[in-house]
Symmetry: C2
Subunit: 306 residues, 2 copies
């Protein structure tokens, strides 16, 4: 494929939230000749998408949105994937590639395969986001420098995988191919467990007797506020992730709990060396993330202090 030829001429975005609307904005900015059709099951979101000019056409049905598409991207919560797949089934063109942006790839592959048994399905996961939701929250540079993981099944045609990879690269993402099961384990550790822990600790602090919620908020700059950001992420999306990547999440959670017990014991018995050794090692992980451009190098994430 020539470098100048876009891999798809019409894309359909099903679900116009943070990720769906960011894809729309990025496509507009990076490959303005590509036609964008969009659909959302929420009428207010569709109206807003029209106001924001996010698509060439905002359809009132999912079928209408996909009718002319050669790429369909399902940007709905993982638990809604099967129903969304069924809603596009009757109108889906034979040659279209169906992809998604979900955070649990084995469950998504299963759901889409059930809903669309004859379609060309290539699941994908752009590892990017913010704590905000909805069509107003998206922005064109969200995927810039972030990894997008494709998890094609074994028999997938290389040409199709390459086309989808090309699409994501044009939006600024770096592309990786991975087995779905391995993806689910890696993301359980790097995304799902962190979210679960953040939700938990924010709930714990909010509940503690002897401390008011006002105090928790006032003194949150001591570390707590960092956790509240991801604990403000979309509840439906995250409920579905945990229910659909259960096994891997429970596995890494078990490991986390063991490690936490070890530290608990070190604190109880005054074992400073164990604490110091871990705290030194974790510092190096942060350095690597900065070196590889996966986080803002400025102190405190670049928060404004004035």
């Amino acid at each position: 494929m020539a470098e100048t030829e876009v891999p798809f001429s019409t894309i359909a975005i099903i679900g116009i939230g943070l990720i769906g609307s960011s894809i729309a904005r990025a496509v507009r900015e990076r490959t303005p000749d590509v036609r964008i059709n969009a659909y959302d099951s929420n009428e207010a979101v569709r109206t807003r998408a029209v106001e924001l000019g996010l698509a060439d056409k905002v359809s009132d049905t999912a079928g209408d949105a996909v009718r002319e598409a050669d790429l369909v991207i399902m940007c709905v919560p993982v638990g809604a994937m099967k129903a969304a797949g069924e809603s596009i089934a009757p109108a889906l063109p034979k040659q279209a590639i169906v992809s998604d942006v979900g955070s649990a790839k084995m469950a998504v592959a299963r759901a889409l395969r059930e809903a669309l048994p004859d379609a060309t399905i290539i699941p994908a996961h752009p590892v990017a986001g913010t704590e905000n939701s909805g069509p107003d929250a998206g922005f064109a540079s969200l995927f810039h420098g972030r990894w997008c993981i494709l998890t094609p099944h074994e028999g997938a045609a290389k040409a199709n995988v390459d086309r989808l990879g090309d699409f994501w690269q044009r939006l600024g993402a770096k592309v990786e191919i991975m087995d779905a099961k391995h993806h689910d384990l890696v993301l359980a550790a790097t995304s799902h467990l962190p979210h679960l822990i953040a939700y938990t600790i924010v709930g714990t602090a909010d509940d503690l007797e002897g401390i008011t919620q006002g105090e928790v908020i006032k003194y949150s700059a001591g570390g707590f506020r960092d956790f509240t950001r991801i604990a403000a992420s979309d509840p439906t999306m995250w409920r579905d992730v945990f229910l659909n990547n259960r096994e891997a999440v429970l596995d890494v959670l078990q490991r986390f709990s063991e490690d936490l017990s070890m530290l608990q014991r070190a604190i109880r018995w005054g074992d400073g060396d164990t604490l110091f050794e871990l705290f030194t090692r974790t510092r190096a992980v942060r350095r690597s993330i900065i070196e590889q451009g996966q986080d803002d190098a400025r102190p405190d994430f670049g928060r404004v202090h004035e």
Copy 2:
């Protein structure tokens, strides 16, 4: 005291790290007439402090730094507080107020009382910081809009507490008076537990079999990277916090573990309602923190996406 009259004419900063050097820079900027003497037990840090022009005088002994001070601020790890107190004891002027910036107030009060039985001690804790350490890491606006908690003992003279509060307000901080024991519980929840959890999860992800460290770093934008920031904080400082606020940390950790077990069970049994209810509640906590100006309102902490 007249609004224009500074509460102290000469301050001594013992320990020129992130916090000590930020105090020095803030004093220079906000109350330039105040004389700053400084000392650090590390010779390289003293040399650097001279190069950076952080103080009017960088002393080679702690005693020399405090000799003319009316306010001494101990900016050393909590575990080094007693020895640092002993090092200033012989030279400490009778009328000087001794304060600190440590994150565990009961232990600090005890350590300074033992080292300086006759001194006027008013422990303090500015709830502010970044993941960076050392004299280069500080900046004048670090305390701006943040809370500084004073934990005077019951018999402390109100005039002295007010003077110290005035000092911190001039650096841009908001001042709160609190019982030391209550401080230690509140901070265990809003600062110490978050740090412990962050250190743990970064260690867990770094250790997982089946996942390479390279993968953890590449896909860290899914949430993990947020935790690596506070897990990059100074190891000595944090070891000392946990060893010196043991009881409160173990208490809130116990609560956290119970809450985590509840979520683990909800995931295992597919109880989506429990997950959804918590994830919705935690979102409101974030909103309150933003409304009260305790975090950057921009998405993703204002990280640069381009």
